[in-house]
Symmetry: C2
Amino acid sequence: MARRKKYKFPKTTIERLSYYFRALEDLSKRGIDTVSSEALGGKLNIKSSQIRKDLSYFGDFGKRGMGYDVKYLLKELKYILGLDREWAVVIVGAGHIGAAMANYDSFEKRGFNIAAIFDNDEKKIGKEINGTPILPYDNIDDFVKQNKIEMAIIAVPAAAAQAVADKLVESGVTAILNFAPVAVQLDENVRCLSVDLTTKLEALAYYMSYSQDKLWKIYS
Amino acid sequence: MARRKKYKFPKTTIERLSYYFRALEDLSKRGIDTVSSEALGGKLNIKSSQIRKDLSYFGDFGKRGMGYDVKYLLKELKYILGLDREWAVVIVGAGHIGAAMANYDSFEKRGFNIAAIFDNDEKKIGKEINGTPILPYDNIDDFVKQNKIEMAIIAVPAAAAQAVADKLVESGVTAILNFAPVAVQLDENVRCLSVDLTTKLEALAYYMSYSQDKLWKIYS
DNA sequence: TCACCCATGTGAAAATTTTAACATACGCCG
DNA sequence: CGGCGTATGTTAAAATTTTCACATGGGTGA
Ligand SMILES: NC(=O)c1ccc[n+]([C@@H]2O[C@H](COP(=O)([O-])OP(=O)(O)OC[C@H]3O[C@@H](n4cnc5c(N)ncnc54)[C@H](O)[C@@H]3O)[C@@H](O)[C@H]2O)c1
Ligand SMILES: NC(=O)c1ccc[n+]([C@@H]2O[C@H](COP(=O)([O-])OP(=O)(O)OC[C@H]3O[C@@H](n4cnc5c(N)ncnc54)[C@H](O)[C@@H]3O)[C@@H](O)[C@H]2O)c1
């Protein structure tokens, strides 16, 4: 189990660690070896004190007076975030969102291996998206078990989402990224995050209507 | 300017109002006239006290002992969220994400009218997606001005996102939904929300690695 | 009409998260 | 080798957000 200094920290910290990771990758690519919390924060619109605090939950990664070694911090964050290994993922729903996710090669680069896409539409089964096969939804159970799939992306219509989630969990999946606009009810040992695009647009509509409310982080 | 009792409330309240709205639509469709905060919360995994507090920032919508009238609350939330009008939206980037968004008809139903999609790929220009034309990116300026576009969805590669955002804002757009994995720097009177799918997956990876951390709301 | 039930709206407390401030440590330069 | 500039890690304070607890008022039925 990875290093951790404190046992409690904000939930938002994890999300930010992911942003730090990506920004550091960018710096690394551009040949920058060292970065201060101030400089990193400037890139991300996050206060430097926030960055230092976030990192301090997990260890002492910087050098006083110097800042952080980019490569070293990348390695540590990779470890903390659980990106130092491969994750076997399936997508359920070979529609627009499912296809977008399957086509996004950066996921593979990060270690998320999309093993298969499942759909119940006869016309889609047998085809493939970006090299990943579309398999019959009825076989998902066996596939998940045999391939020790741990993560799933749900990209089916809202009406089907709960049933799909139940089946996935039953088969052994313990983490779900859900695109369906519905609150899926799950056992508490299953991690589930929802991406709700309608809500994002509606929040924008609200803030357009009330222009006196000045707020917003880059992350939501 | 719509009703509001209090001038300060959590940013997360707006996101939840959107969830309430959707859940109420569902109830309404199923012929349910009245709902208690307890029942609504059960549907959404949100505490009833949270719901009552959220609503109380905007008005007194319920009847003691009775709960909330579904249709009436829907009407009020629609008004509060700014969904009682039409919003003219453009999508920039006719790739996978852009296409998914353009194909999602629920946005139109909510009043988000996707007026056009812009791309700089000659092969895509002139085609259409779900009835919406793909236009040359070079014309975006004029189009946004002429059609009084207020909202934009950025679905271009990260490297292009900042330039696209700048151009949009210059042309008059004041709200942006950004899918590019980069923190776009904007004037503070522009509302910008980012959807970061990689971060969601990475957060899941973290929580898989540290299974002792039990947390998660349905929303993130 | 009155008593009782029920679920709201709210004020206060608790919990969480962010921000500020600074003592501490590192490296550089003279 | 010691003083100086700098940016960390941390402690304490401030700000925000959630949860609790209950007084309040509407509806119902006797
Ligand atoms: N496209 C968007 O921009 C967008 C925006 C917001 C929310 N969403 C949500 O994301 C989800 C996916 O959206 P989409 O646009 O990709 O939908 P889509 O209709 O393009 O694709 C859905 C796919 O799921 C398959 N499917 C349906 N029921 C299934 C089942 N029981 N088992 C297996 N496969 C099944 C269908 O055959 C289809 O291929 C939906 O819940 C939608 O509400 C999408
Ligand atoms: N597809 C996914 O699942 C996914 C996941 C996470 C993040 N994203 C991000 O979302 C964004 C879009 O992803 P995508 O998969 O749709 O990409 P894509 O490559 O499918 O589409 C990008 C489109 O933008 C167009 N484009 C490029 N530069 C442009 C410019 N300067 N002006 C106008 N158009 C331009 C391209 O021609 C292309 O049609 C990217 O930033 C990507 O990193 C996508």
